[in-house]
Amino acid sequence: MTARGLRRLTAAALCALTMAVALWSQRDVGLARDELVYMGAGDGYARWWIDAVDDWGAATSKAKITAAFGGPGPTDHNREHPPLMKTLFGFSKRLLHDRLEVASPTTAYRAPSALLHGILIAIVFLWAAAVWGFAEGLIAALLTLALPRALFHAGLAAFDGPIATLWVATLYCYWRALASWRWAPIAGVVWGLALATKHNAFLVPLVIAPHFVWVVAADAVTRARAAPGRGVAALGRALWARLYLPPALIVLGPLTLFALWPWLWLDPIDHVRAWLEFHLRHVHYNFEYLGDNWNHPPFPWHVALVTTALTVPAATLAAAALGLGVRVRGWWSTPAAARAGDPALLLALSVAASMGPFFLGSTPIFGAEKHWEAAIPSLCVAAGIGVVWAARRAAAGLGERWSTVRAGVLEVAAIAVVGGAVVASAGAETLHARPYALTSYNAVAGGAPGGADLGMNRQFWGYAARGVLAFLASQPPGRVYSHDASPAWGAYQRDRLLPPGRGDAGPEDAGVAASRYALVIHERHFNRHDYMIWASYGTVAPVFVLRHDGVPIVSVYRRPAR
């Protein structure tokens, strides 16, 4: 088998492995509040596309498009988010659950995210292996898979995992297009898919534009050195050699978005403006960070750095620091012409553009690492480089001592040991974090309890309520104040995770008053729900407290008998 063939086979295997892990991992993960919205919208979008195939003229009427994709309200049919993933969720549910009956409704909705995560891992491998070597690529890919938070998001019917994939995929295609014009239209379309997934994709030009300028400038300098005195001509030639790239991105990206989002067909400018305005004026959700509840700017400038330092496995971070050092040192010793093919700068710009908005102090910080998840594969690539560098260095050191052992054998063994240790460590942490990965923190923080000591956010989206359903099922029937899990309650009953007689009692005070059981999903700003329940039930004592590594995440109260 050729090296290229081996790389492709490995990428396919990694993709399949990742999908399997993500689908297995999500089985115990409760339904996140937003997922229910996206699932519902996705059902409608998929139905519309099927209708459109049957009768294009009727489906594309203003009334039909509005009924499926829009409406007068800013959140009607979830029109504040582009449709790609929701459409895939809807089709996936129809195929895997309704038709093939191979998955539960929840798993079927979530499968496209798992597939996209598989593609991310494959791209990380292919990219790093092509540039730095097979071992570097394999370790980078496995470390990207062994991220507790990223794996969590990869198992949700939401956009944060998929946008990370499509962000990295766009950069990969762009990088390939620098050497071959055939990749340019692919890069444009993939960026369009990213735009059709989440608005983060609007930041991609902040990565590509400066990199493109740098590549052109570096090429111009090389050409000018070869032909002194013809600097302008050199710049022109350097630009001309890649002039196919900007139009491909600028034209095909928005066109792809437009083609996939029928809501834009009705009034493109107004509907794009409404979409972006929604996010520019997004409400600031409550989020705990270093002991304070944040819901109003200015936010701390260091949120992205600290949160990354406390959530990415510590060994991965250390290896990334090593790899970064190796690349920075290698950068200056690389000839300028060779640097153009080196994606290190592109990956660094990816980190900067992905995390950059969170240094402004005005960007909402809720959701934390999921909003800059596209940055993390860059760290993992650096970690792959760092691990292999350390292993090769060790092999060289051992080779001096054990001169009878072949250098290649020593090197493979060293990479296996060091890479295995770092990947196994991150993997153990990732497995341990599930299904409550948003409560988990890394060794730097001291694990989940260390994160709680530091006053880091406990969780969000109400998904942890899944963990108390078995307790509720063991209790006598009664209506439940389901708190932040109320959007998921019907789905839990549909999936038979709750026996009959434990319906949702409704929201706020009236819901508490009508309930026999009450849940509080612990986030600092949710403390008020405890107090509402205390006042209604006349007791401060829960009957069950769900914990992850000893850290309370959901309390259940039972109304005392009168």
Binding site: N295, L322, A428, G450, A452, R528, V540
Partner: protein
């Protein structure tokens, strides 16, 4: 560089990564073992329960473990104690803590008794308890109300600064004030007042502060502002024992100060 040192320098990054990987896995996967389990809590609670005579305050530290503490001892913590103005009226405070944490209520006190079971440390503190002669929140129905109010006043258990507070909650109209006058009430040597803005969402959406003034027999003794990030602030003013008229004046500061849920509790103490 000597050969041995040079060889070690070559091996050092790999060894460091392997050691860090091992430490990282052990520290995260084993993190739960550094938090006491239900057996430890049950054992500590049983021993504390045996020493309770009634009227003690029970607190937990760090704050994030409180749900577990209430799971085991919540039946010995009533709503009045949970929503207290402060801890001054309790002669005995039991603090159950883990991971070396301390509760703010026991700051400056010396433990009279202490034991640790399975990582749960229980400490009993004694202090000279303040005697409450008038609890104003409990006597809200006797107050006469003046001024321009949007809602209230009502006696509620509210969230102020993410803590429970049993208080009088009133919402003045923007840039207006509401007076609550309690006539012929018993006063002690001091008047303790706690106040803050209730409800995290209105604190987020409206950033104006609130203000509270306290007057006894027509003489203003204190006035202070409290903002959206100030939580529950407690002040104490000196009073002359006897009977008197006390007026609390709550103000929503600024024309944009809608939905200022001013939440206050006050106790005349001796």
């Amino acid at each position: 560089m000597p050969p041995l040192v040079a060889r070690f320098a070559r091996l050092a990054p790999a060894i460091a990564l392997c050691l860090l990987a091992a430490w990282s896995a052990v520290r995260t996967v084993g993190a739960g073992r550094r938090v006491p389990d239900d057996d430890a809590w049950a054992a500590a609670a049983t021993r504390v329960r045996a020493a309770l005579t009634g009227g003690e305050l029970i607190v937990f530290a760090p704050a994030w473990i409180e749900p577990v503490g209430r799971l085991h001892l919540g039946d010995r913590l009533d709503l009045a104690a949970a929503g207290r103005l402060d801890a001054a009226r309790f002669a005995t405070i039991w603090e159950l803590s883990i991971r070396g944490a301390r509760a703010p209520e026991t700051r400056g006190l010396t433990a009279a008794e202490s034991f640790t079971i399975g990582g749960v440390t229980a400490r009993r503190y004694r202090q000279r308890a303040a005697v409450v002669v008038t609890d104003f929140a409990a006597r809200l129905t006797e107050a006469s109300i003046t001024g321009e109010r949007a809602r209230g006043p009502t006696a509620v258990l509210a969230e102020v600064g993410f803590t429970p507070r049993r208080c009088v909650q009133v919402v003045p109209q923007p840039d207006r004030e509401v007076g609550l006058t309690f006539r012929d009430v018993e006063l002690g040597t001091e008047l303790a007042i706690g106040v803050g803005l209730a409800d995290v969402f209105t604190r987020r959406d409206v950033r104006n502060p609130g203000e509270l003034a306290v007057a006894v027999d027509g003489v203003e003794l204190a006035r202070w502002r409290f903002g959206v990030d100030d939580g529950w602030t407690v002040r104490t003013v000196v009073t002359r024992p006897g009977r008197g008229t006390v007026t609390f004046t709550a103000r929503a500061v600024g024309l944009g100060a809608s939905n200022r849920l001013v939440c206050f509790a006050a106790e005349a103490r001796r």
